[in-house]
């Protein structure tokens, strides 16, 4: 049985859906042109994942093993439709930007992956938390990537944030007429994502090396 701490660490770092599992590249490339779009879609995904994990976990005793995949997909598709309609109705401006990507949450394999790997075997609260934190880990990575892309591509930070939080404004960091096409187009996203995965691997390797070194040192006093 995994604890909440382990679930959180898995979702945010160890099994991070983008950096470690490299799942869900479609939204990663498509919506990360700026922080606002990227993080918003990430949060919508986290919301759907939390709900779908919770729903599947509650119903898991009533889902025959043979048809679990169709039922999982049915549940996820229904929840995505509900999020889609609700966003269209109540956060319309954001929907205009993210609208075409919301249905894509269904196709993001990380949703089905968490339902199958976690929610089908664990209690409801833990499953909901696992889904949400996995999605939140995805949202954080999308957000960082979006921030990097809009800075490199158009020299802004948090542009378009007023759509989500009225009253706030994006920051123009570089001169107004600055523009770097590679940052805006998908290949730029691939390159930046490559750097992010490399940094994560480097940090992990350093942590492992430190642990190994500590293990080599610590037994000595006992031996002596």
């Amino acid at each position: 049985m995994s604890t909440y701490r382990e679930i959180t660490a898995n979702g945010l770092w160890k099994q991070n859906s983008i950096l470690a599992q490299v799942l869900g590249m479609c939204p990663t490339l498509a919506v990360t042109t700026n922080f606002t779009n990227a993080f918003s879609l990430g949060l919508a995904t986290a919301f759907v994942m939390g709900m779908s994990n919770g729903a599947v976990s509650l119903l898991r005793a009533f889902i025959p093993y043979e048809i679990r995949i169709p039922v999982f997909i049915l549940i996820i598709a229904a929840l995505v439709t509900i999020v889609d309609l609700s966003m269209n109705a109540w956060t319309h401006d954001l929907y205009l930007i993210l609208g075409i990507f919301i249905p894509l949450i269904v196709t993001n394999c990380i949703v089905l992956a968490r339902v199958e790997a976690f929610a089908a075997k664990n209690p409801a609260l833990k499953s909901t938390w696992d889904g949400f934190i996995m999605g939140f880990g995805l949202a954080l990575v999308l957000g960082v990537l979006g921030l990097a892309r809009e800075f490199v591509g158009q020299g802004t930070l948090f542009s378009g944030i007023e759509v989500v939080i009225p009253g706030l404004h994006g920051i123009q960091v570089l001169p107004e007429d600055y523009s770097f096409l590679l940052g805006i187009l998908p290949p730029g996203a691939f390159i930046l994502l490559g750097f992010m995965i490399a940094i994560r691997n480097w940090l992990d390797a350093r942590a492992t090396a430190a642990k190994a070194a500590a293990a080599r040192i610590s037994p000595e006093p006992q031996a002596g």
């Binding site: 025959p64 049915l74 309609l85 319309h92």
Partner: protein, 241 residues
């Protein structure tokens, strides 16, 4: 007799009966019914959400349309219920439309003010460029806006004022309040083609496509102005070939 007994006893010793044809059918049927129940339950959930969100979605769709119209025609130029005073136009080659479109009619104090219609430039750099135009009753354009395009980001996309670096006087505002009296129809082209509409060097294809589409749409609209205003709302314009 004894044979039958031994057969029965061996069967009873088995924990799982060998799946005969009938039990496979039974399991399949049971599973199918369960799947059906899931489908019904979640469809009901989606239907409930649909009806709960419908009014809000319709309201924002109408607001969005009005916002688009207000970008080409300021709201003090009309006082009628514009979204209801519409006629439908069939697919028209001069407008570049290959499907029927809606034309909105703006009136002020009951008098004709402007016609708002869609046009398509088929020859953008990558695909169609969709435009919305407001043609005033005096034959001038009120304004033009691009509603949909796939032009290269950072290059040809300055036809959309949101992407235009020139915020004080975006490219597309050259069409504000001009008609064929200000710019004769023969000179209603980009400068590169010998006309009078400015374009940025290096990206001529997108503005040329927009300019030509605007000229064609204006040429189509001018002789039909009175007929378009006179048609009862909700009808389709019928043209004699």
């Amino acid at each position: 007799m004894s044979q039958e007994q031994t057969q029965a006893s061996t069967l009873s010793h088995d924990d799982i009966p060998p799946p005969g044809e009938s039990s496979i059918l039974r399991i399949s049927a049971r599973t199918a019914v369960i799947l059906l129940w899931y489908c019904i339950a979640f469809t009901a959930l989606m239907a409930a959400t649909y009806f709960a969100t419908k009014p809000a979605i319709e309201a924002s769709a109408a607001a969005e349309k009005l916002q688009m119209i207000n970008a080409v025609l300021s709201s003090d130029r009309y006082d009628n219920e514009l979204l209801k005073d519409t006629i439908s136009l069939p697919a028209t080659a001069a407008l570049g439309t290959d499907d029927s479109t809606t034309l909105y009619r703006a009136r002020k104090n009951g008098e004709a003010s402007a016609l708002i219609l869609e046009a398509v430039a088929p020859d953008g750099y990558s695909g169609k460029i969709r435009l919305i135009l407001a043609v005033k009753a005096n034959g001038e354009l009120a304004a033009v806006r691009v509603t949909e395009h796939k032009e290269t980001p950072g290059l040809g996309d300055y036809i959309d004022p949101k992407k235009d670096r020139n915020k004080t006087r975006p490219w597309i505002t050259q069409f504000n309040d001009v008609g064929f009296e200000q710019i004769p129809v023969t000179e209603f082209k980009v400068k590169k083609d010998g006309g009078r509409i400015d374009q940025m060097s290096g990206a001529t294809i997108s503005p040329r496509a927009v300019t030509n589409a605007v000229r064609r749409a204006l040429e189509w609209t001018l002789p039909r102005r009175e007929a378009l205003f006179a048609l009862p709302a909700g009808q389709t314009l019928e043209e004699k070939p």
